[in-house]
């Protein structure tokens, strides 16, 4: 009994202690929200911790959108949706071939695809830039999409290979006996079964593409092509030409999609991201 009360007191103290720690931990987010809602004069002169009520933030959103972030958001949405979908689709076919069609040297093929992510991204930059210039796809949406598809394939194949290993073989064999082609097996059996992992991988890869800075910097230049993070970083380097609250607003806008994806995925996120962080890391 005595032990239990002691535990209860400890838990209560722990609970309130943790609340204080967590408030400190997310204080930078609070700083972001508060200062995105200021005018540049208010930010420059005022106390950074001061809260100002009002709707300056809407004006800042419009300003940020018009000085380049808007294009970045639209471009990144395109890269994320198109690049991630195509990558997941190709990875799905590849994983199907390796596991379900029992390719000879299946593990070797898998490792060939997977080897793409073992190297740091610095290994890709110079030859990609050269080749993109030679083939005329430097600073094009096609070029960036092509890269994002390729970089997302290895991890997607890794996860989907894991999925295919768990699907019972009886399903496939029964379909075969009834004369189904492999394409029908993919379309009618595997795709519906794989909905959850497909969605998970799609969103993880969307997040990766959305957050990428380096390849946007290397493979694009103009406002109409560059992704959102590159647009944001560009704004930051123009600091003092673009005011602080506008940049902070832009930071907020660039962060909302990935935050929403996390809240949406939460439960599945842990497993997915622990696997994915190797690919996601920079």
């Amino acid at each position: 009994m005595k032990y239990k009360t002691k535990e209860k007191i400890k838990t209560t103290f722990g609970f309130f202690g943790m609340i204080i720690i967590v408030i400190c931990w997310i204080y930078p987010v609070f700083f972001l929200l508060v200062n995105a809602n200021k005018t540049s004069a208010q930010y420059a002169k005022g106390d950074k911790t001061e809260i100002i009520f009002g709707n300056q933030i809407f004006e800042n959103i419009v300003k940020a959108w018009n000085i380049g972030l808007g294009d970045g958001v639209l471009n990144s949405l395109f890269y994320g949706l198109v690049g991630s979908s195509i990558a997941v689709f190709f990875a799905f076919l590849a994983a199907f071939a390796i596991v379900r069609l029992k390719m000879n040297n299946g593990l070797w093929w898998f490792l060939l695809i997977y080897s793409g992510t073992v190297f740091p991204f610095q290994m890709f930059l110079i030859p990609l830039f050269e080749a993109y210039v030679v083939f005329g796809i430097y600073n094009t949406k096609f070029g960036l999409t092509l890269f994002y598809v390729a970089i997302c394939i290895p991890f997607a194949t890794f996860v989907l290979r894991g999925f295919f290993l768990t699907v019972p073989w009886e399903l496939q064999e029964a379909a075969k006996v009834e004369g189904a082609t492999n394409f029908q097996i993919i379309y009618k059996i595997m795709m519906p079964l794989a909905k959850a992992p497909l969605m998970l991988v799609f969103l993880i890869q969307f997040t990766w593409i959305w957050n990428d800075l380096l390849f946007g910097m290397v493979l694009s230049r103009s406002v109409g092509v560059r992704p959102v993070t590159t647009a944001l970083a560009g704004m930051q380097s123009l600091y003092r030409q673009v005011d602080a609250p506008t940049i902070l607003t832009a930071t907020l806008m660039a962060s909302i999609p990935t935050l929403l994806i996390f809240l949406l995925l939460q439960k599945h996120f842990i497993r997915g991201l622990t696997l994915g962080s190797m690919n996601a890391g920079k």
Partner: protein, 288 residues
């Protein structure tokens, strides 16, 4: 057509794209690291000259030193703080709520977090304002412009963003633990530290290994955070090898040297990745 032949058609798009966009550049970078390619003149093969420059030219000692500092601290702090968070919140009521709040910084891109911390660590930024309010005015300084404060400031910003994932890994580990040994130890009067070091850490060792390897894989090649906050400056003082590679390749056009830096980074990366993959792949195959 037989399944095994059809398989080649299904795997072709993935393999072709990966070979052209990922594997070809890797091979080409490796080759270029042995040349004096400057993007203009016809390149000559110069053997290991780029590599000896990397090790013996005093100009590059600082990036190497910074990379080592980053590798150590930018993996130690996210893993340790991630563990402490996971350990502290798991038994608390509403732990899910804490978990979401603590994880929020991890959903933000490294670039966005870098921009945010650029404003926090600025001379007239939030951090100095708080120091002044608390009466530590003499401690205020330009956190991103002074050496060595700039590197440690950026590691702090990086830690803020990289801790969430480690907390998640440890939460998975802690949730899988049997409760009895912990309860028994507590009733026997084991204090916090004994409990953590003698019982909990040994039990979740595999998760520590995975989290640490992942953190190492990521920490030695951090680029975005540094680029957004200081661009490796002032005067290249906060550069790591990942930034050196970009600067040499895309600003100074010393492509051969930049490639050699990339290859060195790969060697480190492959060592960490080897241990990581060995763990993850064997675990997965046993599971199936």
């Amino acid at each position: 057509m037989k399944d095994k032949q059809q398989a080649y058609f299904y795997i072709a798009p993935a393999v072709i794209l990966v070979c052209l966009i990922l594997i070809y550049p890797i091979i080409r970078t490796f080759y270029m690291s042995f040349t004096d390619n400057d993007g203009l003149n016809p390149p000559n093969i110069i053997g290991l000259a780029n590599y000896s420059r990397l090790f013996f030219d005093t100009q590059y000692i600082l990036p190497i030193k910074n990379t080592i500092i980053w590798t150590i601290f930018a993996s130690f702090f996210p893993v340790t703080i991630g563990f402490l968070f996971a350990y502290s919140i798991q038994f608390l009521p509403r732990s899910n709520f804490f978990q979401i709040l603590i994880y929020i910084p991890a959903t933000v891109s490294a670039a966005a977090a870098g921009v945010l911390f650029g404003f926090i660590l600025d001379t007239s930024g939030l951090f100095n304002a708080i120091l002044t309010i608390l009466g530590f005015e003499e401690l205020t300084r330009d956190w991103l412009f002074q050496i060595p404060e700039n590197t440690y400031s950026m590691i702090t910003a990086y830690t803020w963003q990289a801790t969430g994932i480690n907390m998640m890994i440890f939460l998975v580990g802690l949730q899988g633990l049997p409760k009895e040994p912990m309860e028994a130890a507590k009733i026997d009067g084991a204090s916090g530290f004994t409990l953590i070091f003698k019982i909990i850490i040994p039990m979740i060792m595999p998760y520590f290994v995975i989290a640490s390897l992942l953190a190492l894989i990521n920490s030695f090649r951090v680029f975005d955070s540094i680029w957004v906050m200081t661009m490796g400056g002032p005067a290249r003082s906060s550069e790591t090898l990942a930034v050196t590679m970009y600067r040499e390749g895309f600003i100074l056009f010393d492509l051969g040297y930049a490639s050699a830096v990339a290859v060195m980074l790969s060697l480190v990366g492959i060592i960490f990745s080897y241990f990581y993959l060995k763990l993850v792949l064997t675990k997965e195959d046993v599971g199936n």
